[in-house]
């Protein structure tokens, strides 16, 4: 065969300028293509999870409750209104437990795609950013579906601010997920660490950080679980936006700051761990 265009004459100039400023987007594009392989899972989990939880917990379990758990500015709110923002946040967090663990192990070890990218002008930090963009997009998609179902169930109080809920969902997911990403990128092998994270970190946080009932219900010795839990901060923030849960402005500010701190801190550490691993 003849392929003159393949000749790589040593005198020709470099074909591209580098580093490329859109590198992270290329990584994200690659991730999206991979996600297309399991697009039906994403859609199915995206629709099914909220539907089942809202039905089962928001409506079914609510029939057993004797007392009101929470109230907004206009008095007590139905249980489903109270629980929905927390369920939304736990859905994005659960996306994080998958995408920032097994996907990362796969990139370094099983499929080794990160090493392939590493040989191109793309820097490790851009690989992290690309991953974050792709996963955040999946979280946003899931959150929007959740919000749509919440509206269908009438599980929102304040139609003006509830639109920000997906943003809180993504922020909560990243606040939980980015430190996890940093941790996952240091692992050479999965000997059950991810399953342990799932069961010893995610599950307890899901259960004990004010998802199903206010944190104050727990003995005060356990409140710290909520304070350190991105899930609790995201749920509380979501409740403010969804039905105007009454609380001082500074508390809301603290929720935002804690979530940002987790997310940004995790991101910075992940950039370092990726760079250390790949260079």
């Amino acid at each position: 065969m003849s392929a003159p265009s393949l000749s790589t004459s040593p005198t020709t100039a470099a074909p591209v300028a580098a580093p490329h400023r859109r590198a992270a987007l290329y990584v994200a594009e690659h991730q999206f293509r991979s996600m297309l392989n399991y697009k039906w899972t994403v859609v199915m989990v995206g629709v099914g999870t909220p539907l089942f939880y809202l039905l089962g917990i928001g409506l079914g379990l609510a029939t057993l409750l004797d007392a009101d758990l929470a109230s907004g500015p206009g008095g007590p709110v139905p249980y489903v209104v109270f629980v929905a923002p927390a369920l939304l946040a736990s859905a994005t967090v659960s996306v994080a437990t998958e995408e920032f663990t097994y996907t990362v192990m796969s990139g370094f070890k099983w499929r080794r795609v990160f090493w392939g990218i590493n040989a191109t002008p793309v820097e490790p930090g851009s690989i992290v950013s690309g991953l974050v963009i792709a996963v955040a997009a999946r979280m946003a998609f899931g959150s929007l579906l959740y919000l749509a179902l919440m509206l269908a169930f009438g599980a929102v109080g304040d139609l003006w601010t509830v639109w920000l809920l997906p943003l809180v969902g993504v922020l909560g997911g990243l606040a939980f997920g980015l430190p996890l990403l940093a941790y996952a990128s240091t692992l050479k092998d999965d000997n059950g660490q991810f399953a342990a994270v799932q069961r010893f970190v995610f599950t307890p946080l899901f259960l004990f950080s004010g998802t199903f009932y206010p944190l104050e219900t727990l003995p005060s010795a356990l409140h710290w679980i909520g304070w350190i839990s991105p899930l609790w901060h995201a749920s509380e923030l979501g409740r403010v936006l969804s039905y105007g849960a009454v609380k001082p402005a500074w508390v809301t500010a603290v929720h935002v700051l804690v979530l940002l701190a987790f997310a940004i801190g995790g991101w910075l550490i992940a950039r370092r761990t990726f760079t250390r691993r790949l260079r």
Binding site: L69, G192, Q193, A195, R199, T203, L207
Partner: protein
């Protein structure tokens, strides 16, 4: 196994004798040596993922504390179909026991088997020895059941300490849990043998979630319209929950036999399909 000697048979006599009783169609799949696989499971757990093994005990306990006690403060007592009222924790504890039996059995017989089948290449190596595919299948299931039994004993102890067992029949929930797990594992394995991709495996989780939420686990069935109740009563988890709940709450009665029968049928169907499928995959 006895100490190796020059004349030691490849398959120990006693179990070979048992295997010889089986019909020829099964003998080709089964060398009567499933036990080796259980041994392998324990060795692997010891070296690799003991923390995962351990976590299987904690998960239902976390749920019991968070939902049973935490949320229970807003619920108080639950009235059962027969008019008896029980604290919320006592209501969900047996359900959580059944759910964890289901989860463990399904995980072990689906994801775990699928991964080993398609990626670990473990079975190829094992099947090139005198072990047959059915040894592997029964071995995997037995290992899962043993693990499940340990968890169940732990959980039942927790229930006892929390005063949630209302009758001596609670102890019978141990064999009940084994039966339930066997049912889920045998069907799970049969289904897995048809699966080809990870994406298909995701559907298994997807079926488990609604079952988990709706099978009278967290609230009684009577909140649903009649038709939905019938639908749920056709699902295995509902039978498992009712069986275990009947035992821990001491509602001993003929209805429990229906649940037992359901699982016996499930095991029969599951094993039949698994055997048939293993033949197709490994021998034809």
């Amino acid at each position: 196994m006895s100490a190796p000697s020059d004349t030691a048979p490849l398959v120990p006599e006693r179990r070979r004798g048992l295997a010889a009783l089986l019909p020829a169609s099964v003998r080709a799949l089964y060398a009567g040596n499933a036990r080796m696989f259980v041994v392998r499971g324990f060795l692997s757990a010891k070296t690799n993922n003991w923390i995962v093994v351990l976590s299987g005990f904690f998960e239902p306990v976390f749920f019991l504390i968070a939902m049973g006690i935490g949320l229970g403060t807003y619920i108080g007592d639950v009235e059962l179909a027969n008019g008896q009222t029980v604290p919320y924790a006592a209501f969900i504890a047996p359900a959580l026991l059944a759910v964890s039996a289901m989860n463990g059995a399904v995980y072990d017989s689906t994801w775990n088997v699928f991964f080993k089948m398609h990626f670990g290449k473990l079975y190829d190596a094992v099947l090139s020895t005198s072990m047959g595919p059915l040894d592997v299948a029964l071995g995997e299931i037995s290992y899962a059941l043993l693990r499940g039994l340990v968890y169940a004993t732990g959980f039942l102890t927790v229930m006892q300490l929390m005063g949630l067992n209302q009758s001596w029949t609670a102890i019978l929930s141990l064999p009940a849990v084994l039966l339930v797990a066997f049912g889920f594992a045998s069907v799970g394995m049969a289904i897995t043998s048809y699966m080809k991709t990870f994406q298909q495996m995701d559907w298994i989780n997807f079926v488990m979630l609604p079952m988990f939420l709706f099978s009278a686990t967290f609230f009684p069935l009577d909140v649903y319209p009649e038709a939905i109740q019938r639908l749920i009563q056709a699902l295995p988890l509902w039978h498992a929950v009712e069986l275990v709940r009947g035992l821990t709450l001491g509602q001993f009665g003929p209805q429990l036999l229906v649940h037992v029968g359901y699982f016996v049928a499930m095991i029969a169907v599951g094993i039949t399909f698994t055997t048939r499928r293993l033949r197709a995959l490994f021998l034809d």
